[in-house]
Structures are given as C-alpha cells and as structure tokens.
C-alpha cells in the first residue's frame, strides 16, 4: 500500500479539525476526497504532507511512518500539487518544473543536466514540452495546473496530492485535468485529490473518502459510497444519483441536487434557516 492513514487526528492550536480518518490507497488508484467546505479536507492534506503534526494516529507513505520523517525524504515519497497560482517572479516553465528536484540534492546544489532532462521528460509526459521556455505567469490556468503536475512528476514521488485541482478551471480544462489524472493513475501513481463535484469519482475515482465535520462519513468504491443518502447526509441537501448512457453507450453516473416542484429552496432547514 502506498498510502495508509490510520485513525488520524490533528488540527491547529484550538483543537482537532480532522477527527479520526482511516483510509488507504495504492499505486494506480485515485482517491477522491469529498465533503462540504470546512469539513477538514485541506487540514487532512496538511497532515499528510507533514505541514501539521498529527495529534494521534498515523500516516504511512510507502510503508514509512511519517512521524519523524525528514522533510526531504517525505518529499521524495509524496508531492503536493497546489491550485494553479501565479508566481511573483517570471520564472520560465522549465525553471519552475526543475524546482521539483529540490529534495534530490544538497542545500548548496543546483539542478544539473540530469535534473533538467527529467524536467523536460515530465513536460513531455504531459504533452506541454513546447511551453518549456515560456514565462509561467503568462500561461492560462489550465496550462499552469499541468505545469504544477509536471513539477510533481519531476519530484519523482509516487503519491501526488492535489488540493481541488479543478477549481478555477473552465469546463474543457477540467475534463483535460481529469483525463491527465486517470492517465497518471494508469502509469502507477497514487493520486489523492479533493473535489467539489461528487460525480468526479464515478469517472476517474477508484476510491472515495467522504468527510463531514472532520469525521469519516464513508470510504470505499464510488458505486458503494456515493448514494443519495450519503450525499444528503454530507452536504445537507437532497440529492439523486442518476445513471444513464452517453452517445457512445458508456454508462455514466451523475449526482443531481433535487427539490420538490414549487418549494423555493432546497437547503435542509436547520433551526434558524
């Protein structure tokens, strides 16, 4: 198992935000993390990446307990792909991607030929080698996201952790990103991604972790976990899970928020609503 999380708890000074999460994901799998805003997804990722210490429980990356793991060693096991952002300075794409090699040489080192080759190869893998010399801040959101994925690949970590990679992307780029994620999984990477669209796991996910208020609401295969009941429990609104065939006869599953005709709002009334 590449990623094992066992009864993980942790948070900031004021108390645990993640309250007992257990799940696993292996090479070739995509683990989608679902849940409303503030359910602890980001905190969970911070715990996975060692940016926050766990109060109890354990994370094992490729069998190694991360408790006292050195930052460099951890960085060789798990890479973080932030939401596409702008850098303040005009780095070229290649300069930014080669930064992924940071854990592989000493503090006084700088990337050499081999590192630059790996960076070019990572760009080729994602089909964006032609962008190598372009200034990163001038790219579109979708291109930037691909560049950040290339950097993670260049980092040579097998576990890729993506915080809402589809946020801020238009529809076509979102699809492209999901295709890239699926392809990386086929190549043996283990992907962990948080997402706001509960349909996503049906097309790309192998496993789903549903969180509510820091607790584990459900974990398992998408078909088993994503049902009208669990969605309603987690998001607090009535939802239907619908299956249909697209024009190629492929079975697709969609999640739809529903409301009774005539009612004005579909959010579950919660006392003061």
């Amino acid at each position: 198992m590449l990623l094992e999380i066992e009864d993980l708890r942790g948070g900031y000074g004021s108390g645990d935000v993640v309250k007992g999460i257990t799940c696993q994901a292996d090479a070739g799998e995509i683990l989608c993390v679902l849940g409303p805003n503030g359910c602890g997804k980001t905190t969970l990722f911070r715990l996975l990446l060692g940016m926050l210490p766990a109060t109890s429980g354990e994370v094992r990356l490729d069998g190694e307990a991360t408790g006292g793991l050195e930052p460099k060693k951890r960085a060789k096991l798990a890479a973080y792909i932030p939401q596409n952002h702008a850098t303040v300075f005009s780095y070229t794409v290649l300069e930014l991607v080669v930064m992924g090699r940071a854990p592989h040489f000493s503090a006084m080192g700088a990337p050499g030929v081999r590192d630059r080759d790996l960076a070019v190869r990572a760009l080729e893998k994602l089909g964006i080698a032609h962008l190598a010399d372009k200034p990163y801040p001038a790219l579109s959101g979708g291109q930037r996201q691909l560049v950040l994925i290339a950097r993670a690949i260049c980092q040579s970590a097998k576990i890729l952790i993506m915080d809402e990679p589809a946020a801020n992307l238009d529809y076509a780029n979102r699809q492209l990103l999901m295709d890239v994620a699926a392809e990386l999984a086929r190549k043996g990477y283990c992907l962990v991604m948080s997402t706001h669209s509960p349909d996503n796991p049906f097309s790309v996910g192998h496993k789903v972790l549903m969180m509510k208020e820091g607790r584990l609401a459900a974990f398992g295969a998408p078909e088993a976990v994503i049902t009208g009941e669990t969605l309603e429990e987690v998001y607090g609104i009535p939802m239907d899970v619908v299956s249909l065939e697209d024009r190629f006869g492929v079975k697709r599953t969609l999640c739809l928020p529903v409301k009774a005709p005539g009612s004005s709002r579909n959010r579950k009334e919660e006392g003061h609503g």
């Binding site: 940016m51 960085a75 798990a78 932030p82 303040v88 940071a102 030929v113």
Partner: protein
Amino acid sequence: MMRDDKTAQKGKETESGRYQRSVMPVLSLLFVCTVLFSFWVGYYPLTPGEVVKAFFFRFGYQGAVSDQAVTIFWSIRLPRILSAVLIGSALSVAGSVYQGMFRNPLVSPDILGVSSGASLGAAFAILNGVSGWRIQLAAFTGGILAVAFSYLISRKSAHSQTLSLVLTGSMIMALCNSGVTMIKYMSDPNDVLQQITFWLMGSLAKANMASVIWSLGPVLLGLAVILALRWRLNLLTLEDEEAQSLGVNVRRLRIVFIVASTLVSAAAVCLGGLIGWVGLMVPHMARALVGADYKRLIPACGLMGAAYLLLMDDLARSLLALEIPIGVVTSFMGAPFFVYLIIKRKDG
C-alpha cells in the same frame, strides 16, 4: 560548474539558455570597464596605464609613474572605488534576496530595519563623543540588533512569517527613526548635529582603506553564504506550504538568508551611510537581463550593483564643482524608476 559545462555541450540547448550564458561575460567586462573609467574620472584623471603602474609601484615596480599618481591611486581612488564596489554589490544582492524572500519585487534591503538601526547606532555613538571606527562599529551593531529584534518579535505573531516580519520591521524602523530624530534634537547644532547629518547622508567622500578592510569580512562572508545557497532562494519565492512540500525547511532557510543579507547590508551602511534605491533598482535591471532564476540573478546583481554604484559615484564626483552626496544621486535616479515600475510592470 562541471554540470553546467555539460549542459553547454548538449544539443538540446534552448535559445534563451544560450543568451543567458553570454550575459555574464558581458557583465564582467562592463564591470571592469566601469572600474577603469572610475579611476579616470576626477580632478586628476588616471589612465588605465597609470592605474596598472601605480598598482605595481607598491610591489616594487620602478617605472615611469609620478608620485602624485601613486598617492591618488592608493589613498583616494582605490578606497573609494572599493567602497562603491562593496556597497553596490552588497545592497543589490541583499535587495534581491529580500525581494525573493518576501515575494515582493518592491522590497528594498532595509525592510527589516537594518539601515534605521545602523543610523540610530551611529547617531548614538556620535552623541557620546565617539569617533572613527567606533562609530562604524556602533552602526553595525545597531543594524544587526534592529533586524534581530524584528525577527524575534515577529516570531510571537500568529500571522504568516513574511507578513509579520514586514510588520515588525516597519515598527522597528519607526522606532529607530524617532530615536535618531530625538538624538538630533538633543544634540549641539554646531557640532554633533552636523556630524550626524553628514554621517546619515550617504557619501563615499570619507572612504578610506581601513574601513574598506574592516567591512570586507562581513560583506564577503554574507555574500559567500548567499552565493552558495542561491538556487534555494527560488524555493522561498513559492508559498511556504509549497516550498515545504518540496522538502525545504522554510524557517531555517529563511533565517540563514536573513542573517547573511543583514551582515552584508549592515556593513554596507557602515561604509557609506544611507544610500537608497540601489537595492531596489539593480535586482530589477538584473532580472530583465538574466531572468528570475536566482542561480544567475545573484551573480548578475553583484556585478551590476557594483558597476551601477561606481557610475553613480562618478556622477556625484563630476556633475558639479563640489561633490554631491551619492545618496542624493541614487535617490534622484531611483525614485523615478520606482514610479516607472509601479506604472509599467506587472511582475518582476
């Protein structure tokens, strides 16, 4: 270095890569020319030939060179040029380090209060009737202490480290500046006040070999550390969490760079007083030439900063019949440049 040479041999070399490799030799040549030019500028111009002869005179050369040329070379021009080189490269390198660390291209090296602290130290020393190298020592200590306080207080803050450093830095700066004002107010206007004002003005007119040698240590030490670790500065320009995920100990790396650039800029302030804008302008010009990667940016900043300040000092010496304080010249050049940056450029 060896790894670099291998890149040069590779066929897959990019257009921009080749261009950037040719920039460094050009900058070095420019620097050497500026040095020779600066020996020539002045009431008694020294030609490059005289410069070489006067230099070797000290080491037993017995050729045709006037005593006057030797004296001017060794006790006037050389200390002054060395000061300009040290200060220019120190401030520019420290400026580029701080800009990267604070992810803000409009930051200058005194953001954590090093210049204000040094000013307070110097003013305090002058008020107490101290003279010579002791003023410089007091200024150096003041600069280091100001940054140390900024750093230590920022650690108590719950904001992100860069934000709290900026906040505590400006607080320390304000405190030191009012301290300087208080000392100026209390001091004798005919003697001490004049001395303080002149010290703070930023001038290379009093440059001498002793202070150059004295500041050489901290400047070279700081520059060596920055030069050795310079590629890692790229990682500090990313968000803290992103850098951490790349295996970087962000806090540790940041304090190393703060210590190194504080050493460098405190020594520069001691040598020449307050010379503004250099640390802000030069990194921008260097970025426009060699790009954002700190691996090339730091050496480029060092060379360009030295050349820039030499030229500014040449202007200060030759523009009017009497010498203009160099701090005034750099501000006249820097302030319009800053406005240009704000209006024109979107990024570094």
